[in-house]
Symmetry: C2
Subunit: 415 residues, 2 copies
């Protein structure tokens, strides 16, 4: 692991949030020594009977054995107890047949210890690619892990899945569904190799809502498209990206079984807020980040093109280094719009830094001054707004600047 | 301009090559002070009557006024004298209507001074985006420039178009066409904002071959697809990429007027060699580069997918920083193949560093040792070979590593 000697300057000032107990979920974390030493690297979430589980995963064609295993299980219509087991230090990706064997050994050992059906055990692995995972270090700890389960252990779990992260990431919301106070809480990791093509990184979200698997999956998919899928650190997509959402059904509510249920909208809003919070924390902890960048694109001919233009800006090394240098170099934003491959007309483009109108009608705005732009760029959080002036397609993407810190971390760290 | 305090360690050891005089072409360069001071920033190439001119340009939707002007002129069937005028320091891109006015002022002044039809005057501008170009500094120098024309001035011209380049880039070939010794020579600039989607950067190539405009254009297009289009430094596509190829027809040969002419193949081979040489020099001068990286992809289901997989590897910040750190981190190559969006099957992938077999059959090769990989990564020139094992699609892409130097240059320089 890279030596993380300081916490990202963009870390939430309040530290890790106080997360509520989610009735029906217990956590444990410990040191298994998969690769790291002197820190926790293995976490277990135990999910009560009746929990529905939804998931979205990387679309990488070289995705890991754990991801392939989860994908196969996520659609099964089972509702007994369930579990999520995650290790950091080794991603078990590109490890051939032995990678699948390792997943089977781990899930088999956990099933034996806990009595949970192996088809309801979801695993993730994050860390170095292409090295055989020392699965026996994980299976050796399963008894101890199971004995340590605690409803109040979510922060410990969040810490155990970190790799180059400089702070653990948690978020929570409560939502009233027909009088029932439903809780949603979760955590995520992610710092580099962040450019999810659908899911991103590892994130685990828990709720006591009673909600069927199909509806839960649809809520997750929709929220994911506007949250984790809208974060990029370096344009590199991981082999292991996984988001799991588990609903224990312990809240005092009649189960939601249809997407048309009027309570779904409130649930989705709260779920979206939790996932957006976690997604932005990932951008805040982007490797080497010193600035959080939000890119808002409006006026595209559809939402898809808006998203691709926003990604082209957010992934441009020249835009990201300009922000790092506090240089209001809006010409590089024009360049990135131009290279996106999406329709854009120079004379309809409008660009703002925050509320500062920078360029319009194919030209720098008469009201813009370099001084105003330079002063704005000194902020920790930079908003880049681009209106394409074509139609009402819109998208927002979050990223961070590209600094010497990114180079130092990645010329040094095997991930 | 960034303070370029040292020449790229990857610059050709022999320095700028000795370029031949191309009969029918003369060059001049001088200091116009468009933005820089204490260096040349304006160059003129004067082309004799009968010269055919071919061009390829950036496909950016925000391409510059000069590019739009060239595109409109390049297809015209005119054969009088011609000229190419290039300034560095300001790209005249995203400068609204005044950008077009500036091009008209510059080409008009040059037409008046030289008698060349303005429709045969091709201009390029490179440098900062979005600032009005001080065209009057250029027009003020046109008389002096025209008076300085010299058949032997190609190196001076190459130096005048540099921006963050650390060395001027030239290349030459001769080819015998039915006994006529035809010369091809040219020069290029480019160092950052390099990810041509068709043309790249600025390159100007001259030949005394007698060859019709249509055939010349086709030769250029084909060579470009395998040379400049296969270079990337940072995945960012310029608003100004331009390649112009001018054939004066002064060689003692019957004109080539059909692409089926048997002499075309020899001409294409020599042209390809010049353009590949220049393209690789651009990668060698990539901003902050310490390693030249060649990515060869074979076994794809077609050449297009092979090119996109090669680009995904060559543009991956994680691959590029691993090379910078001399880390044989082949897992990041697996990641980049996976994220490319192209078809790949984990168990058919084979990866080599140079001649060292690294991974095959979904797993690290039994013969591979970390020591051998680490020793290989100490080379200045790194060959990454990936075979997808699907069909016979192939592509080669050149790039460089991603270092602190790139960050320093781009957090500091307005381009």
């Amino acid at each position: 692991m890279a030596k993380i000697t300081h916490v990202s300057p963009l870390a939430p000032k309040a530290g890790f949030p106080s997360l509520p107990v989610i009735d029906g979920v217990r956590f444990a974390a410990l040191e298994a020594g998969v690769r790291y030493s002197g820190r926790t690297d293995l976490m277990l979430a135990d999910l009560c009977e009746g929990t529905t589980v939804a998931g979205v995963f990387t679309r990488s064609s070289t995705r890991s054995a754990a991801v392939l295993d989860c994908e196969q299980k996520i659609g099964l219509d089972l509702d007994g107890r369930a579990a999520i087991l995650v290790n950091s230090g080794n991603s078990n990706a590109f490890t051939g047949k032995s990678g699948f064997d390792a997943v089977a050994k781990i899930t088999g050992a956990l099933a034996e210890e806990t009595g949970v059906d192996a088809q309801r055990i979801f695993t993730s692995s994050t860390g170095v690619i292409g090295e055989p995972i020392k699965w026996e270090r994980i299976t050796a700890k399963i008894g101890e892990l199971n004995a340590a389960l605690d409803a109040d252990g979510m922060e410990l779990a969040a810490r155990a899945i970190m790799t180059t992260d400089t702070f653990p990431k948690g978020a929570t919301q409560t939502v009233s569904l027909d009088g029932a106070e439903v809780k949603i809480a979760g955590f995520a990791k992610g710092s580099g190799m962040i450019a999810p093509d659908m899911a991103t990184m590892l994130a685990y979200i828990f709720t006591d809502a009673a909600i069927s698997r199909d509806v839960l999956q649809q809520c997750l998919w929709l929220a994911n498209a506007k949250t984790f899928n809208c974060v990029t650190v370096d344009g590199d997509t991981s082999t292991s990206d996984t988001v799991l959402l588990a609903a224990t059904g312990k809240a005092e509510m009649a189960p939601i079984t249809e997407f048309s249920d009027p309570r779904v909208e409130a649930f989705r809003t709260a779920l979206h807020a939790v996932m957006k919070d976690l997604a932005i924390q990932i951008a805040r902890d982007g490797e080497g980040a010193t600035k959080l960048i939000e890119v808002q694109v409006t006026g595209a001919n559809a939402n898809g093109p808006a998203h691709r233009v926003a990604k082209a800006i957010a992934n441009s090394p020249l835009v990201k280094t300009a922000v790092a240098g506090e240089d209001p170099n809006w010409g590089r934003i024009v360049m990135a719009v131009g290279k996106s491959g999406e329709r854009a007309e120079r004379d309809r483009l409008t660009i703002w830094f925050g509320d500062i109108l920078v360029a319009e009608k194919g030209w720098v705005s008469p009201s813009y001054t370099e001084e105003a732009g330079a002063a704005y760029m000194k902020n920790d959080e930079i908003l880049i707004r681009v209106d394409l002036g074509l139609d009402d397609g819109a998208a927002t993407v979050w990223t961070c600047d590209l600094t010497h810190g990114y180079i130092t971390i990645n010329a040094d760290y095997r991930s």
